[in-house]
């Protein structure tokens, strides 16, 4: 479904700020895989996601989606196949537009946008049904501007919008990190539900080790631009946080220093 081959990326090459963001990344996702990604800040997780979404282009390497080489495809073309939820709850929706207009934007993702009405009667029914499944009472606020929603509500809507057209690949970039624990738990369970419903191929970055273990069938750990550990579906079933910490120490010969990683244990 998704294949990254020999991906390299260097920022500010030839300057004192030179940083190897990705160093020889190889990763293959089969249809229906749900991979969680952990790693400290600066490990290259977000850079890798930006490569997949098309916001960045790799210096070396190829990216294939469904057997099609998309390495140089611009972001707006690639996003036909890719759904994305950002960390910032403000990032995934248009604040001055209404809930139903936002859903209409999401609905048109894999269609060409023409002069048909964005919110038709038939579509309204689809939007209503989708919103009801969130259980947030948003179905009664179709005409409310999204900027008036709370962070949790907006993130739930972002998630619904990202998965609305059943994209080939779903990218979740720490999408629960900016929420309070109870909202984060809600979004986590919603993520699980939506991904399982359409068995979406998913990549999720998280700093919450327990979440990384609980969700998905595979797990990868990144450090300094490399994938240093891949946990297969069989191994992942019995994985604990302690195992992950020990693995990191064994591979890198140093203790994992991430306050957020420690705090979340």
């Amino acid at each position: 479904m998704l294949k990254l081959q020999h991906i390299h990326k260097i920022f500010n090459e030839g300057t004192p700020d030179e940083k190897v963001a990705l160093n020889h990344i190889n990763l293959t996702l089969e249809a229906g895989d749900f991979v969680t990604i952990i790693g400290s800040n600066g490990a290259g997780k977000s850079t890798m996601m930006n490569m997949i979404s098309g916001a960045l282009t790799p210096d070396v390497g190829t990216i294939t989606i469904n057997g099609k080489d998309v390495t140089n495809l611009p972001e707006y073309k690639r996003s036909k196949y890719i759904g994305r939820v950002f960390q910032d709850p403000m990032a995934g929706t248009a604040p001055t537009m209404t809930i139903q207009e936002n859903l209409a934007l999401a609905y048109s993702r894999n269609k060409s946008r023409g002069l048909r009405s964005g919110v038709s009667k038939a579509r309204k029914e689809i939007f209503l049904a989708a919103l009801e499944s969130l259980n947030l009472n948003l179905e009664n606020r179709l005409n409310a501007k999204v900027g008036l929603l709370s962070g949790g509500e907006r993130q739930a809507l972002s998630l619904l919008m990202a998965t609305f057209t059943k994209p080939d690949i779903l990218l979740l970039d720490e999408h629960t990190a900016a929420l309070d624990p109870s909202r984060a738990a809600l979004i986590t369970s919603l993520t699980k539900e939506l991904v399982e419903k359409d068995s979406l191929t998913t990549l999720m970055i998280t700093h919450d080790m327990q979440q990384a273990i609980d969700l998905g069938n595979r797990l990868i750990m990144m450090d300094k631009g490399q994938i240093i550990l891949e946990v297969s579906p069989e191994e992942k079933k019995n994985l604990t946080i302690e195992d992950l910490m020990n693995e990191f120490q064994r591979i890198r010969g140093e203790k994992m220093v991430s306050d957020r990683a420690l705090l979340s244990t």
Binding site: Y76, K80, A91, T93, E101, L105, S108, R109, R113, G118
Partner: protein, 343 residues
Amino acid sequence: MFTALFGSVEQGIIYAIMALGVYITFRVLDFPDLTVDGSFVTGAATAATMITFGYDPLIATLCALLAGFVAGSITGILHTKAHINELLAGILMMIALYSINLRIMGLTTENAVGRPNIPLSSSDTVFTMLHDFWSTLGIDAMLNNLLTATGLTSLPRTWGVIIVMFIVVFIIKFMLDWFLKTEYGLALRATGDNVKMIRSFSANTDNVKIFALGLSNALVALSGALIAQLNKFADAGMGIGMIVIGLASVIIGEAIFGKKTIVRATLAVIFGAIIYRVVISLALQVEFLDTGDLKLITAVVVIIALVIPYAMNKYKEKKRRAKRRAQLMKEVTAMPEGEKPIA
């Protein structure tokens, strides 16, 4: 007095088309587009030149609209493809258009390459055509009779321009309202609202911006073409400060009529443009003020339109808080002794 006001309403309705164009870029696309000062004249120059050559005024006006679309699209291309800053792209296009406009008007004369103005006093324009048609209807006589009954002595020449232009402006408004609710229109609004998000929903934001700038400047040029025909001349300098007038109309309209929905905002912009003209013409009736003070008056009017809504909100909020405080105090004093909070 009445005829002066009547004239400013007449002009205001036509300037409203320009203001709707400015609304598209400034408010919907969130793009401060300064091309307007140039494209307004491009519309006037194109229409005046073609009319001088003997083309049908309607066709000339339509071509002016297209010329504006092209000018706006180029600003969009400069911004999206050449990655030039929004303001700078607009300014560059504006000064480039100044020369181009001279060249366009220069086509009408063999003595020079450029020409700073074209008079249309003896030419057919859309308004002379309108007048010919209108005078057969007899509506003017009817309305003027009504006015004389109220005791007015100075009567407007014709009601045709006001009534027909009102209809035209409202047709444009309804089309714009409709367009901004279509799939493409929603993508346009989202591009102005959260560009990163709409790109992740597979909208080609570059093309959307180019189209929106084209559409906006097409309306501006249409307005320029009509103003040139109404005032019976096109001049290279007639666009100076146009962007400020457009913005003033948008801001005044929104301050008075609100901007909650698209339908309401476009209506507000139209009335904003008319009110702006009326205020200016009233201000010029004041003995002390001179036509040279026009820009200063504009600046003051815009500042007032910006400050008053803010001050009003503050006042309302203060009143709301005072009311709430009074209510809470009443509840506290009604409590039995001993249960009262310490404060």
